[in-house]
């Protein structure tokens, strides 16, 4: 009855050998292709460094105006702009300006990459049910797999630094982008699509004139979610060398500095709220004409 009380697990030796084989296999893969993969991500690194340099070297008043301006263009709402400026001023006053800029640069690049990769994948998913069946479980894994676990192969392949951090951020943040693009396109009114077909639209014209514009509010909700999830990854990514507001938080965990952790944590929350309100307000503005005004 032994098997009844303890699970009849795999033979210890077999399990050890299996793990060893996988580890060595991956290490061999890393040795073989590490450089190629690194050079593949070179443009990303360049983009990241340039974004960070721009954000940190531009004088703070100009940055402040720039971010305030973007908030205004997107939301057309003075309250949101005022909130943005005040939050940034507070962050600066508490000596977290340059860390905040680094974080914003990271989030910006992560979001841009997620948009450029996520939207096409979402579009293909919306057009092909079989592709959707393949991608959906992958997205489930990406969202539920503890982020530390996929940090391991990323670090093994690319070492410690900005790019692996960015990849970790993108892996974590891209699923809502893909899912909501897919959903948005699938929810486009069938009647309007039929009209587009009846006038002889090619599939590109259909996508450009009907599907993307009508799905845009949903896609914007995806971008909003992606930004939020990217921010949530900032602290974890700091463990593999990403600079910004995550680093001091990590330090304060190690050294038990309560106030340092709190200030930086609040700064992350502040930035999150800015991004959230601005992108939501923009999404709302896009939806303006899709709401039914007349009964």
């Amino acid at each position: 009855m032994d098997w009844f009380y303890s699970f009849p697990n795999m033979n210890d030796d077999t399990l050890r050998n299996l793990k060893k084989a996988m580890d060595e296999g991956f290490k061999a893969f890393t040795r073989e292709y590490g450089d190629i993969i690194e050079s593949f991500f070179q443009p990303l690194q360049y983009f990241l460094i340039e974004a960070e340099r721009f954000m940190t070297t531009t004088p703070w008043p100009i940055m402040l105006l720039l971010i305030g301006g973007i908030a205004w263009i997107a939301s057309r709402n003075w309250k949101i702009v005022a909130g943005t400026i005040i939050t940034l001023l507070l962050i600066g006053y508490f000596d977290m300006w340059s860390d905040a800029m680094k974080t914003i640069a990271m989030i910006f690049v992560g979001t841009v990459v997620s948009i450029f990769v996520g939207i096409p994948i979402g579009i293909i998913m919306a057009r092909s049910d079989s592709f959707q069946r393949v991608v959906n479980p992958i997205l489930d894994v990406m969202q539920t797999m503890p982020s530390f676990v996929y940090l391991i192969p990323v670090v093994m392949l690319l070492g410690i630094g900005k790019v692996p951090g960015l990849i970790a951020v993108v892996i974590y943040a891209i699923p809502p982008m893909i899912r909501l693009t897919n959903l948005g396109i699938r929810l486009v009114d069938k009647d309007v699509l039929e009209a587009a077909d009846a006038f002889g639209s090619s599939s590109w014209q259909r996508l450009k004139n009907v599907q993307i514009p009508l799905a845009l509010p949903t896609i914007m909700a995806g971008i909003n979610q992606t930004i939020m999830m990217a921010l949530a990854m900032v602290v974890i990514a700091s463990m593999i060398g990403v600079q910004g507001l995550g680093q001091p938080v990590l330090r304060s965990v190690n050294g038990q500095f309560f106030s340092l952790g709190l200030f930086n944590g609040l700064a992350i929350v502040g930035i999150a709220i800015i991004f959230d309100r601005v992108s939501q307000a923009y999404g709302k503005r896009l939806q303006k004409h899709q709401e039914v005004v007349h009964g």
């Binding site: 009647d191 039929e194 009846a198 006038f199 002889g200 639209s201 004139n209 004409h289 709401e291 007349h294």
Partner: protein, 357 residues
């Protein structure tokens, strides 16, 4: 512009069958041999959409296809521009079979030969009235200034001048459908497909839109295929009417044919509710010209509907009127008695047949 030549292209639908389901092709033969709709559904899980449709739609006419929901009328109109693929049969327009076109030809055909108006308007919510109206021409790749010139002309023609910059959700249903109509007309295609175009509008606005369409048709003379579930609408608009039931054509002809000689119980049930005075023409109930003395000098033109003739006669306080043709030659006589008898709805199908004879 009344003598402007016919622009439309005729549409010939031949032996069209549509079966919905997993393997429609394997049941076509059985259906052709007479398998019923219920049998097909219960034994094979396939739905019979259309059975052996043969309609010849002449160029420049309004062809109405009437039927209740589920009769297959919306399926039928979607075969004309092949938004739905037929299971078997032909749709011939300008000598080409739409059902055999490849994707490219089909796209070109849809761009240049047809335009469609939808029950639920199907406008692009993110585009203004003007940008919605140019859609067809934009797809064709015309230069923007030409697109706009055309679009503005039709926007004005359907009575929406001044609303070019509005978004669809700022307009009422009737106005939105005017945009739908303007969008279709801007395409300037010889065939206009209207799928229950006015069904979502309330009765007054519907009447109004019918008038707009009839008025336009005098000028554009396109081949219009109009789908409706409303017999009054069908009779008002249709040069020719085909009545569909359970995917089959049960009767086709002019409105008068259908009102006077309903093919079966089903149609006579419909016809009961119709205002006959607005459909039947004086010629149908005329007795041969003989006693001009009794006609008292009142004349009505051939092709006048009973209601109008009755008005002319009561205005002149006459019991008889002479029918004259376009050259003023008398062709027959009608009496007020006959007139009233013909306008009153007969009690049964049989009497309505008798009235026609």
């Amino acid at each position: 512009m009344a003598d402007r030549s016919v622009q439309g292209a005729g549409i010939k639908i031949k032996n069209l069958y549509k079966i919905f389901g997993q393997r429609p092709v394997s049941y076509v033969e059985a259906v052709k041999k007479g398998m019923s709709k219920t049998e097909l559904n219960e034994q094979h899980g396939h739905v019979l959409g259309l059975r052996d449709i043969n309609i010849d739609m002449p160029a420049g006419c309004i062809q109405v296809v009437m039927g209740l929901s589920g009769s297959g009328k919306s399926t039928l109109i979607r075969h004309i521009n092949r938004l739905i693929d037929p299971t078997s049969g032909e749709v011939i327009i300008d000598g080409a079979d739409v059902c055999k076109m490849n994707q490219n030809d089909l796209r070109e055909f849809r761009r240049h030969k047809t335009a469609m108006v939808f029950q639920k308007f199907a406008l692009l919510p993110h585009r203004t009235v003007l940008d919605n109206t140019v859609y067809g021409l934009e797809i064709q790749g015309l230069p923007r200034d030409k697109q706009e010139a055309q679009a503005r002309r039709w926007i004005e023609r359907v009575g929406l001048k001044g609303f070019e910059g509005h978004y669809p959700n700022q307009l009422s249903g009737g106005m939105q459908q005017r945009v739908g109509l303007a969008r279709a007309l801007t395409n300037d295609a010889p065939i206009l497909l209207m799928d229950e175009a006015f069904s979502a509008l309330d009765p007054l606005i519907r009447m109004d839109m019918q008038s707009v369409l009839l008025d336009l048709q005098k000028e554009i003379r396109k081949t219009i295929v109009f789908i409706t579930h409303d017999l009054d609408e069908a009779l008002r608009l249709g040069d020719r009417i085909a009545i569909l039931r359970d995917g089959e054509v049960v009767q086709q002809g002019t409105g008068q044919d259908i009102v006077l000689q309903p093919a079966d119980e089903y149609i006579s049930n419909f016809v009961k509710e119709v205002n006959r005075g607005r459909v039947i023409m004086v010629d149908t109930i005329a007795t041969p010209a003989g006693a001009p003395a009794t006609s008292g000098g009142v004349t009505v033109r051939t092709g006048t509907i009973l209601e109008e003739a009755a008005k002319t006669m009561t205005d002149a306080n006459q019991q008889y009127a002479t029918i004259i043709d376009d050259n003023g030659k008398p062709t027959g006589v009608i009496s007020m008695n006959n007139l009233i008898q013909a306008m009153v709805t007969p009690i049964s199908h049989l009497t309505s047949k008798a009235a026609a004879e």
